[in-house]
Symmetry: D2
Subunit: 333 residues, 4 copies
Amino acid sequence: MIVVLKPNTDAEREAQLIEWFKSFGLGVHVSEGQFQTVLGLIGDTSSVDTDLVASLDIVDTVKRVTETFKCANRKFHPEDTIIEVGDLKIGGGNFTVIAGPCSVESEEQIVGIAKAVKAAGANMLRGGAFKPRTSPYDFQGLKAEGIELLKIARQETGLPIVTEIMNASDLPLFEDVDVLQVGARNTQNFDLLKELGHLKKPILLKRGIAGTLKELLMSAEYIMASGNENVILCERGIRSYSDYLRNTLDLSAVPMLHELTHLPVVVDPSHATGLARMVPPMALAATAAGCDGLLIEVHNDPPHALCDGAQSIRPEEFAKLYGKLQAVREAVR
Amino acid sequence: MIVVLKPNTDAEREAQLIEWFKSFGLGVHVSEGQFQTVLGLIGDTSSVDTDLVASLDIVDTVKRVTETFKCANRKFHPEDTIIEVGDLKIGGGNFTVIAGPCSVESEEQIVGIAKAVKAAGANMLRGGAFKPRTSPYDFQGLKAEGIELLKIARQETGLPIVTEIMNASDLPLFEDVDVLQVGARNTQNFDLLKELGHLKKPILLKRGIAGTLKELLMSAEYIMASGNENVILCERGIRSYSDYLRNTLDLSAVPMLHELTHLPVVVDPSHATGLARMVPPMALAATAAGCDGLLIEVHNDPPHALCDGAQSIRPEEFAKLYGKLQAVREAVR
Amino acid sequence: MIVVLKPNTDAEREAQLIEWFKSFGLGVHVSEGQFQTVLGLIGDTSSVDTDLVASLDIVDTVKRVTETFKCANRKFHPEDTIIEVGDLKIGGGNFTVIAGPCSVESEEQIVGIAKAVKAAGANMLRGGAFKPRTSPYDFQGLKAEGIELLKIARQETGLPIVTEIMNASDLPLFEDVDVLQVGARNTQNFDLLKELGHLKKPILLKRGIAGTLKELLMSAEYIMASGNENVILCERGIRSYSDYLRNTLDLSAVPMLHELTHLPVVVDPSHATGLARMVPPMALAATAAGCDGLLIEVHNDPPHALCDGAQSIRPEEFAKLYGKLQAVREAVR
Amino acid sequence: MIVVLKPNTDAEREAQLIEWFKSFGLGVHVSEGQFQTVLGLIGDTSSVDTDLVASLDIVDTVKRVTETFKCANRKFHPEDTIIEVGDLKIGGGNFTVIAGPCSVESEEQIVGIAKAVKAAGANMLRGGAFKPRTSPYDFQGLKAEGIELLKIARQETGLPIVTEIMNASDLPLFEDVDVLQVGARNTQNFDLLKELGHLKKPILLKRGIAGTLKELLMSAEYIMASGNENVILCERGIRSYSDYLRNTLDLSAVPMLHELTHLPVVVDPSHATGLARMVPPMALAATAAGCDGLLIEVHNDPPHALCDGAQSIRPEEFAKLYGKLQAVREAVR
């Protein structure tokens, strides 16, 4: 940690601060600049609160040198993590397309869509059983029944299933789910993250609604530090002053996350835009940006979907898109 | 709901759309404009998904006329809600100052601070027992023990206590807590909100890190629709591109929320700025803007606080501030 | 324009409001809903201030039905605009790659880079002569001399040139420039836009630093309404709470703008990310999203560039990227 | 400047980087940490591009120690700047209320409002003659005639006048104006700022629509470095995801700017909220936060104002507010 003191700091107060740092077991390297003195702290500074140091009146600025995320950090783990779901491999050069409806509505619906997306090339089936909705008056999902229907669809198609968990107390219901999703509103539900850290199952962790990349990585760190290293990161659009679309899809997060972490990074163009006709161009763009996979909402009858019909594409559109995705993958290799 | 069709919409498709709306049991009022046709939907449109309608290719724009929040809406409940905590009244012209440390650290610490803030005029004691921290490596709170220490401080001072709950499964520990706080990272933890709706206790609900006012009101709606009308809203700063402070305190939320809802609105200038010396001016500003109370972090020894020392003021600063707050209250009456 | 009145509005005040609208020469269509009355205004409402109407105490909400941009609106001009620069065509299915250094520094530098990017496939040369810099102490460009050097580079390579204008009083210096660029800080410099509207030259108009799409289109409208229909829109990243990159490149603006307007849309991945190694993936992503062209900073010696060396790629990287761009174009067709 | 190298950096490349820094005439102080090496640059680093250094592949992070703004920096100029406009003093503990209509519309209007605000206590008259409007179809101001009418109002009341300049070529028209305003859309119109730096007149500089505090200070620096030290900073609301108000008034900017700079800081609650009934609470809040003055839109007939009627309060509301402002000033002293 680097601590820059204000110009003309009183020598006695500087000495007190240095003593205080030493009380944490840190070495302190003092460097006198032309105008300002710089302290370099040597040792494990993770217990020093940078905000507090920055707020001291003799301190000008503070800079943490070592990143606070460790398990997720590519510096300490240069190789790509590859996550296995049965035979399916995610990350490390593999490309995974996860498709399905926003909500599971009925056996007919979910099995029908599962068959259609499988035929088109999808590698995994998504479908919401527990639905976080802004309004308490909106459809909240089929819950346990929805998970049972997903399993039937898996049995019919062989596609592994991914579905969102909102509450650690529901964990027993998810025992036979392949990948658990943490939604954007729960990215910093730390108690939930810790519980998921005790599993061995892959966790698909979405970026918060207005989350920074560091926050996303720290949330991954919660899961990993608790023992589960199988984390897939998901960019799903961030809140901005966008006037025509729901969110702003931040595709530069893809190469930036690949630089910062070894975890796989997938993109959800459906929630990011909220508009079906924007999904194909943004799915193609995400692929060109180098993501490890996509999460795409597909519904056989969007106008009658119980949730997010506006952003769902039809199976035939998905099939057409799938072919182009492969061509883009080839083009950017 | 008002639906504006695109210019030159095909008459047959328009007729289909009207039929579709009628299938929801709605009346449809058609108004032909100079360039575009406008449909007015009459009846309960809460089951119609505006995003879906907006995405239809013959639709230009959609506007929901009736707000989706009902219990929290001042239109249907014009009088201010007054929430009672023992003898203490919150809202409806009362001014409530809640003070205390970010984290409960020891009996000596919490009792000492409680006595100091009580002497200075505070009406309620705050203190974190369960702490949501961005990093898994940071201090996570004394948990159950912290709540016990808060109760001791209450016994010593008579101040009611408010503390944060992160997980519904911890509810038994909070049985004897006066006010339960929902933090900014859990504002849209809908399962938690529903559980809190089954209590009778007042809930202090913080605005999300990048939350809109509508989202805050819809989260209050989750609690209220489940049966608990005792909700206190809290503005605590929103994320922006602010370059010198942690968040941007949105004080215009105070008069705007007072217009939209009958619930009390308090302000937390400590988390909003993250910097102790910014707390007094922003506390005064919040009071001048008409808030119903404040949540202020006070610590007897900020440099050694286990959490958020940077934003805590000392008891003597709090006492000085308290006098000015009363003067501002008087000035703006 | 649709005006929704508050519930239980006094009949007399409603009548006054209707009279007031009629004083603008508008027809008013009154529709009584279950809870609220809706007024539909018929005729040219462009002189009615929606903010003012919304602020009236009997008014609940206001919605403008007709977009305020006309010249740029695809509704009134469904065909893509194709802009011609000599033999070069921009928009309408053509793909234009504009490359060059952030700043023109010397004849050797600009001619060298021009030859290199031409050899690699670029269609136009960019280079800053007038540089808007956040700090008055930073290099402000070679100004008139820079434009002369660009012309030499054009003569040597045949590439048309694009360079930024900051001030209408400099227009005489730009007489022989092919395309004039308006930077992100001048997107709402309306006096400058009006002046550019009196030219016939193509204008490359960048989106504001935190600009909405509507603001961008209204700025294009300033140029077009003054008589110059040759406007190229440019997405260049918007400000957000991004923590590792300078801006957030909003690629969903590409398909959304294509829907709203007939003008060509190009993307600048260099300014958007501020980091050279992010430029290739984001250029590929922009192409996959369907943009009509790219603006890419290329410098032969980035560490010694006088401006923005951090975001410039080398000619050999550009050449490699160019091939992939064509492959992606092919893949998404 | 502090440069932190990546772990395990090659010694030769480190030596090259150090040589490169020395080529700028800088001293380099090398400090070996437990994991990473830190370079401290000593001397004038203003010509070193931090973005470029940060982008080098052996560099982890860069931190500039010395602020890039000098003239505006309180570190080098601890005393408050007091700006004089005739007998009126702005800053340094004085409180200045600037009131008037958004646009000058007629002699009767501006003189009438000027008399009313003067009677209520205002110290200066504002009124727009040149109006930056998002749409080219909106009223653009009376221009030269508007300035003449302001002068008449000044003659009638003795109030100094402040009005916005959009274009340096209009400067001759502003010769007899007391204070020139730079609007939010021109905060980074650097050519205009440089021209204003050649005047002696006070400049009221608004923060950009999504401007950081540093950008505001750097824009002030443009004016000051050109020779004009009479700069008044103005917070006027920033763009956010606010859903009910036009902008988010960032009142924490007031104490933060007071810490960073010696220049006076005023607040414009009218543009910040866009809604007349929000102006009084936010004006009071701004005063409690410690601002040096206010800019308030007052119109005698808001529903017929040619511009921004929605945010204008009436003279009688202004008079009532003025009394409360003084009371708040007293309360927070």
